[in-house]
């Protein structure tokens, strides 16, 4: 971990340049340019809002469109940085085979790239908040911490996934499918409060309810999305109870994932 910190510092310029390359490259020769970054969450927001008008999801006092947009921001960031991170090593074969620098730079750069797009989405969020006349509270200061935690969660999958993807490309193909499943297991379309009510208050699954809830919150995204909505929209502190199981999971898996990546790294050039 110490070497990771040192590498991060030593190579911060390279990472910045590579991230700048990724961002610029994505929107080169595209008429809409960077606007594409916001198109995805906005479209999803509109679709979910439409669906909600048929199905009826209890969203509390917060207007549903902004609630779902606030959920989509961390979710899209997590989803895209994970899947980009996993394919980042294989995608840079030319560099891997020619030049050495610590290989963790590739997954990390992918995450950094997506951070830029997340930043752009904040402007849309601000616009929506103005539209719905919502005032941010002091709790908004939590946002950087929540995003930092999201980055760690994304890297947990990205490190191990990127390394395995070098040997078995199946990972890169399977991940988008798994991630879209994970979206339904995360409080994106529905608020976490709904799950809480069902399991903790109504005990819908009988004696299994508490355990099921813990299992649900093992998904770091459950805590992340809820916390993000809390601090930005509800003016409340994050619900730490919902975050702890996921945080423990990340704390255990991230070092393992990173160590595996570092072990596999020396054979990337031979196998890729």
């Amino acid at each position: 971990m110490l070497t990771l910190a040192k590498n991060l510092y030593d190579y911060h310029e390279l990472m910045a340049t590579l991230a700048w390359k990724n961002v610029t490259l994505r929107y080169k020769q595209a008429y809409l340019g960077i606007a594409w970054a916001i198109l995805k969450p906005i479209t999803l927001m509109l679709i979910f809002t439409l669906v909600k008008s048929f199905v009826g999801i209890e969203s509390g006092e917060i207007p549903y469109p902004i609630l779902v947009f606030a959920a989509l921001m961390p979710w899209t960031f997590f989803q895209e940085s994970t899947s980009d991170g996993v394919t980042s090593v294989v995608g840079n074969t030319a560099l891997i085979k020619k030049i050495y620098f610590p290989r963790e730079i590739f997954p990390i750069t992918s995450v950094l790239t997506k951070l830029v797009e997340l930043g752009i989405n904040f402007f849309i969020l601000a616009g929506l908040m103005v539209w719905y006349q919502m005032m941010p509270s002091i709790y908004i200061l939590w946002v950087p911490l929540i995003i930092a935690y999201t980055i760690l969660a994304a890297l947990t999958i990205a490190f191990a996934g990127a390394a395995i993807n070098v040997y078995y490309r199946d990972v890169g193909a399977a991940l988008p499918v798994l991630l879209s499943l994970l979206m339904y297991a995360s409080p994106v379309i529905y608020p976490l409060q709904l799950v809480k009510d069902k399991l903790l208050v109504q005990q819908a699954a009988g004696e299994w309810s508490d355990m099921l809830y813990t299992l649900y919150t093992l998904n770091p995204l459950a805590g992340i999305i809820d916390a993000f909505q809390n601090v930005v929209l509800r003016g409340a502190p994050p619900d730490l109870d919902a975050m702890i199981p996921g945080a423990i999971l990340v704390a255990i898996l991230l070092p393992l994932s990173y160590l595996y990546f570092k072990r596999a790294e020396s054979y990337f050039a031979d196998v890729i």
């Binding site: 310029e13 340049t17 390359k21 560099l95 020619k98 030049i99 620098f101 020396s266 050039a269």
Partner: protein
């Protein structure tokens, strides 16, 4: 203090591809059952390589394709990890392996300079400082804001070379990159490399198939062969050894290809072709300027009149060197059915050291091909003395004189 220390470096690759899911499952199952599975064979790309390089040395690494040169560089540049042994390096290494790795086609020249610079380990400030010099050297000022995908390949390489050589590093690794651009630019690259070598006192590893370049730039050469260090020492000695190896290899290949180049009507069968020395013994090698004597034994299927037999020599690249015909001496040669013998003799064969082959043509009076063959017999010509220059600088070894300030010197022949 050595800046590069390589000891007992071995790199093995497993031959064959990664296995699919099914095979992996079957194998794992079998292994769990306690069966011993045959391992896929290993290939030793590097085999117990040891050497050390001092600060400021310019070392050339030469060898045939597949000798392990690039694998060695990959180990030095930390791109790949050794199976056994160790590599120790001091200071920043900048690899000049295949310039242009990491160029993004959609980016402009300017953007690519910054990107490539960062990849090669330059700080942004450093690139800012050197930017003008890089563009100037690459002669790209006019096109610097055009996307690289619109560049010609020569332009791309020029720009990439300019960026790569501006990296300040203690150790520079150069892999086959100087063969870039047009002649004028090659000249410029060459000068820049020489400047880097002589002027800045950096340690340089140069991998090249261009032995002349290695001879000129390096002060030490390592010859690799089948993953091992075959020779390590002064430039002239090691390069000479490499030339000998190359000749043997070309000869082996030429002999291998010999059977392929024959066509004919079947009326003539060649029984044997031999190069003979003065005593009449078959040999494979003659000295430059010696007598060349080729004996051809052949059999005719039936009586033939007015046959013309043409014998000659050619180089391995099929440039015809000499040729002689029986028509000039025996316009109406008649041969009976059965075995015959012809000798083709060149009193002095003044060719430069190298590998040569015999060609042979049989024609009847209507110029119909009875037999036509090339590379029928290969033989080498060796230099009479240790040559001061490479054989690739001349084709024939003619008796020559030099007049220096009015004094005539005959060159040893």
């Amino acid at each position: 203090m050595p800046v590069i220390e390589v000891s007992h470096l071995t790199k093995e690759y497993r031959l064959g591809a990664l296995q699919g899911l099914k095979q992996t499952l079957i194998n794992t199952g079998a292994r769990l059952m306690g069966k011993h599975l045959p391992e896929r064979p290993l290939f030793k790309a590097l085999d117990d390589v040891s050497f050390s390089i001092e600060q400021g040395e310019v070392v050339g690494i030469i060898g045939h394709n597949g000798a392990g040169k690039s694998t060695l560089l990959k180990m030095l540049a930390k791109i790949s990890t050794p199976t056994r042994g160790s590599v120790m390096t001091k200071g920043r290494i900048s690899p000049l392996i295949e310039v242009g790795a990491g160029f993004v086609p959609d980016f402009t020249g300017r953007e690519n300079v910054y990107l490539n610079g960062a990849i090669l380990g330059m700080k942004r400030q450093e690139i800012d400082q050197k930017f003008d010099e890089i563009v100037d050297f690459a002669e790209m000022a006019e096109f610097i804001d055009t996307p690289v995908k619109r560049y010609s390949s020569g332009m791309q390489v020029k720009l990439a070379f300019a960026v790569a050589t501006s990296v300040q590093s203690e150790i520079l690794i150069v892999d086959e990159v100087l063969a870039v651009g047009d002649l004028a630019f090659q000249r410029k690259c060459f000068d820049r490399m020489e400047d880097v070598i002589k002027g800045q006192g950096r340690t340089i590893l140069l991998v090249s198939h261009n032995i002349r370049q290695v001879e000129r730039m390096c002060n030490r050469v390592i010859l690799m062969d089948h993953g091992k260090v075959a020779a390590d020492g002064p430039v002239a000695e090691v390069c000479e050894l490499f030339y000998q190896q190359s000749n043997t290899k070309i000869q082996a290949q030429a002999q291998h290809a010999a059977t392929a180049k024959v066509s004919g009507s079947g009326e003539v069968t060649i029984d044997s072709i031999d190069v003979l020395d003065n005593a009449g013994h078959p040999v494979n090698e003659i000295e430059s300027g010696e007598r060349l004597r080729v004996r051809i034994r052949f059999t005719l299927l039936h009586d033939l009149e007015g046959i013309e037999i043409v014998a000659g020599t050619h180089r391995t690249d099929f440039i015809y060197i000499s040729s002689a015909s029986t028509r000039d001496v025996l316009p109406n040669a008649a041969f009976s059915r059965g075995s015959h013998e012809v000798e083709y003799i060149v009193p002095t064969f003044p060719l430069a050291a190298g590998t040569y082959s015999v060609r042979l043509v049989f024609l009847d009076r209507n110029w119909r091909f009875l037999f036509n063959g090339e590379s029928l017999k290969t033989f080498t010509v060796k230099a009479k003395r240790l040559e001061t220059m490479n054989s690739q600088w001349k084709t024939v070894d003619l008796p020559s004189e030099m007049r220096v300030d009015g004094t005539l010197y005959a060159l040893p022949q």
